[in-house]
Symmetry: C2
Subunit: 230 residues, 2 copies
């Protein structure tokens, strides 16, 4: 964080945020409503804006020795979905989030807002391509699973046979057309989240929540890693 712009009213409403900025030796520039609004894309700005540096890291730094769970957004185009993927990967304790192919810029203001702070919580990789992601994950001993409604294996099959206990990289494809065939072929397995009712599909963030939490639980049952309650 290098600078904060805030209205006087917002500073009064959020003394905790102001105190954090001051403690971090970051200048707070008290600004007019119009000035703050001009910096923000949302219709009802909250009156406070921080200027931050980019936080993404190289792929090889994000996936390190000891990483267990990585979420990959491949061609995820909707900024809300990209932000939700960050938030939900963070909640599920993922070690990193990777955006590949034609995914939306995760620094898009809607993506940052949808991440609810998680963009700052875990290593994030942008601007990479699936062959490099898969190569890096496999070199680190990961099983690479592509989530797809057309998968030949279901998440239940994997849970039933104990195949989610090692390091797992989950790949989530485009909202409309999923994952290109040549990218799906790079995965160790193409996996469907079971649909028990009549819905045609789940959205990206929901499917990711189900896959990542099921994997986190399977990995933790095995390894007795401590779980922290919210």
């Amino acid at each position: 964080m290098s600078e904060v712009f805030a209205t006087a009213e917002a500073v009064e409403r959020h003394p905790d945020i102001a105190a954090l900025a001051v403690a971090a030796a970051v200048d707070i520039r008290v600004s007019t409503d119009a000035a703050v609004a001009s910096l923000v894309g949302s219709v009802t700005p909250q009156g406070i804006v921080a200027v931050c540096g980019f936080v993404d890291v190289p792929l090889t730094d994000a996936v390190s020795e000891g990483s267990q769970l990585v979420a990959v957004g491949a061609h995820v185009r909707d900024p809300g979905n990209a932000g939700s993927l960050l938030r939900c990967a963070d909640a599920a304790g993922a070690d990193a989030v990777v955006f590949s192919g034609s995914s939306v810029d995760p620094y898009n203001d809607k993506a940052v807002r949808a991440s609810a702070g998680s963009i700052f919580h875990l290593p994030m990789v942008t601007g990479t391509v699936m062959p490099d992601v898969v190569k890096t994950l496999k070199a680190r001993g990961f099983t690479v699973l592509a989530a797809s409604a057309g998968g030949g294996t279901t998440l239940d099959d994997l849970l039933d046979t104990g195949r989610l206990t090692g390091p797992v990289g989950w790949v989530f494809g485009n909202e409309a057309w999923g994952l290109p065939a040549d990218e799906a072929r790079l995965a160790d397995e193409v996996v469907a989240v079971p649909i028990y009712g009549r819905a045609e599909s789940l959205n990206v963030a929901t499917a990711a929540a189900v896959c990542l939490y099921a994997t986190a639980r399977a990995q933790r049952s095995r390894s007795d890693r401590p779980s922290i309650r919210a």
Copy 2:
């Protein structure tokens, strides 16, 4: 469905939808772009609008003998979240979705769109209040679980001790302030989705996906109900 308004271009692009309407003896009124746009709240309308009757049912009809899984949105205000809850409850094979308290009208156009058709797939209840919902569920032998970040029990605790195999009603509260204390007290248990990372919380639809899928899987492991793959 009682009537369809569509542009000539949309009929050409979606001959399957036109054929379904004709097969159901529903009139298709070919309309101008402006006429269809005036019926639709979205910025980029898809050129086709169906007029449908209300589909909600009374609480006592929605929760019947043999129901196993019910999702309750309590004071869920965001139409996108209400629609996502319908879609994800449908995918997880829930028997019904109930909106109580000050929840948004699920017939809101954004809610209907976010449900991706699921509003027509499973019984939905609106305009009810938590004491009635809990009373009905308990009379039918349901365990009522309120999802809350402050819950004294975690979802993992329930899974570890096999407490999700019977009929379960999950209650999801308001996006900002959760469930009022007097409503939370009506539940058999207040349950937290574990946060393994640094996220402060999950959004309603994501938390619902995790809770409903974990429950569906626990119930199915017990009962050998068939699972259908998407």
